[in-house]
């Protein structure tokens, strides 16, 4: 692979790492798994003068499922998410979505912090973080702050991170008992980048849907919630008509991207189809669990 010239540093503390980044003044990049950054650099879409490797920094790789929240360290790899039984119980939507990430070799290396910082509109993790209202903890030379996931993602391949900031963890609020979820993705081959994907979560308030969240990725230039689709769900029974209305609302609301893999009209149609199916699946899952 043809990479531009750079120096390589492997600090042992966050302080050292942020100091290195601050010193480089925007010319440095953090490297974790490298699965997005290295191809990006090979295509000359990024040309940092310094790579700061996080591998020696302790405390970035934990999965903690606590009462109030779920905390995932930035160096947690896809493989770790898929391996975690606790996560599968507490936030089943996440491993379901991560099961669509690339191929196995890449899942063994790629990290969630890297995925967030890369902000690829076709990446699953940022979409789930946005949908779930996750908080992203970052540390910079001047201290730490917390950024809501939807505010972290500024555009395609663009975040609101400062040059010296490093993502250290992502925190998801715990789900209430009985929350239902949905995820579906369309790619040319399983493991390829999503042409379109949808995620949803909702609670049941008696016979009616409440607290619905719907998000779209791959089809739009950022992962994003789709409020009209959420409105079409809230207060209604979880049936075909409701799901169809939500799907239609999502299709109508988004501004699909167009590229060599798919046209905008096709992506718009896919989003509706995927959402309707995923929502139906969320009910079917409940029925199965009940049996």
């Amino acid at each position: 692979m043809k990479l531009p010239a750079f120096d390589y540093a492997c600090p042992e503390t966050l302080d050292e790492a942020t100091a290195l980044l601050a010193e480089a003044g925007g010319d440095a990049k953090v490297i974790a798994g490298g699965q997005s950054l290295l191809p990006f650099m090979a295509f000359r879409l990024a040309a940092p003068s310094l790579l700061v490797d996080l591998r020696k920094i302790a405390g970035l790789d934990g999965i903690e499922v606590a009462d109030g929240e779920i905390r995932l360290g930035a160096m947690v790899r896809w493989r770790d998410i898929l391996d975690s039984a606790a996560l599968a119980r507490a936030l089943p939507l996440l491993p379901a979505a991560i099961g669509h990430v690339a191929h196995y070799q890449i899942r063994n290396r790629g990290t969630l912090g890297g995925s967030l910082a890369h902000a690829d509109p076709a990446s699953e993790f940022p979409c789930i973080a946005v949908l779930c209202g996750a908080s992203v903890d970052v540390v910079g030379a001047g201290g730490h702050r917390t950024i809501p996931a939807d505010e972290l993602i500024a555009g395609p391949m663009e975040t609101t991170l400062e040059d010296d900031e490093i993502i250290v963890a992502v925190r998801f609020p715990r789900w209430p008992e009985g929350r239902r979820w949905a995820f579906d993705e369309f790619a040319l081959r399983h493991g390829d980048l999503a042409i379109a994907a949808v995620a949803a979560a909702y609670d049941m308030d008696g016979p009616h849907i409440a607290h619905a969240r719907v998000a779209v990725m791959g089809a739009t230039d950022t992962p994003q919630r789709v409020p009209p689709a959420e409105d079409a769900l809230n207060g209604r029974a979880p049936d075909d008509d409701t799901f169809g209305a939500a799907a239609a609302a999502a299709s109508a609301a988004i501004e699909p991207t167009e590229d060599l893999h798919a046209g905008a009209a096709y992506r718009r149609a896919l989003v509706g189809t995927l959402l309707r199916r995923a929502l139906a699946e969320s009910c079917a899952r409940e029925r199965e669990a009940a049996e």
Binding site: M1, Y8, Q35, L38, P39, A42, D53, Y104, H190
Partner: protein, 177 residues
């Protein structure tokens, strides 16, 4: 920069440009040319190696990042004149044509069998919590990161299935002993 890589159980000191990918370090600096460069973009799997037992694409990582790691390549799986069970199965099932993807397929399958033993479910596994039973569709899905342009996939899948079956047959006996 100076770096020591431990490849196939042997630690070797190298003087490398920090840009050097692990793949280029293996091929150009350690003369381990069994690991192939197919696409150099992490999409074809020809450069699959084992990093601390896990399969990864050597083209998608920097040599500099692996000072402390155990790296295994096709050359380290078995002595050249005495192939392992998986290698023998690839021979018997004609799991290749041009052979260029073959080292990556075999190393990837080695890692895959380990993942299945560890109970890592795949996208097509019916149940995420149950023990992984490798069948044709499981193997095909789990090997989808290794392209074979000759499309020797039938033989590749059969070779892996046969190896998995042999392991299943052997393990209970070992447990009983």
């Amino acid at each position: 920069m100076e770096i020591t890589l431990t490849v196939n159980g042997r630690a070797q000191a190298l003087e490398l440009d920090p840009r050097t990918t692990l793949l280029d370090a293996l091929r150009d600096h350690l003369q381990l040319t069994g690991t192939k460069k197919g696409c150099d973009h992490g999409q074809c799997g020809a450069c699959t190696i084992l990093l601390n037992g896990r399969r990864i694409n050597a083209c998608l990582t920097l040599a500099a990042m692996h000072e402390a790691d155990e790296i295994a390549t096709i050359e380290g799986l078995a002595p050249p004149d005495d192939p392992g069970a998986l290698q023998a199965a690839f021979l018997h099932h004609d799991g290749f044509q041009c052979g260029y993807c073959t080292p990556g397929q075999i190393v990837s399958a080695t890692g895959m069998l380990e993942e299945a033993r560890a109970g890592w479910p795949s996208h097509v596994s019916p149940n995420l919590e149950a023990e992984v039973a490798l069948d044709r569709s499981e193997v095909a899905e789990r090997m989808s990161g290794n392209l074979c342009r000759c499309a020797a996939y039938t033989g590749i899948v059969e070779a892996i299935l046969e190896t998995a079956e042999q392991e299943r047959d052997v393990e209970p006996r070992e447990a009983a002993e």
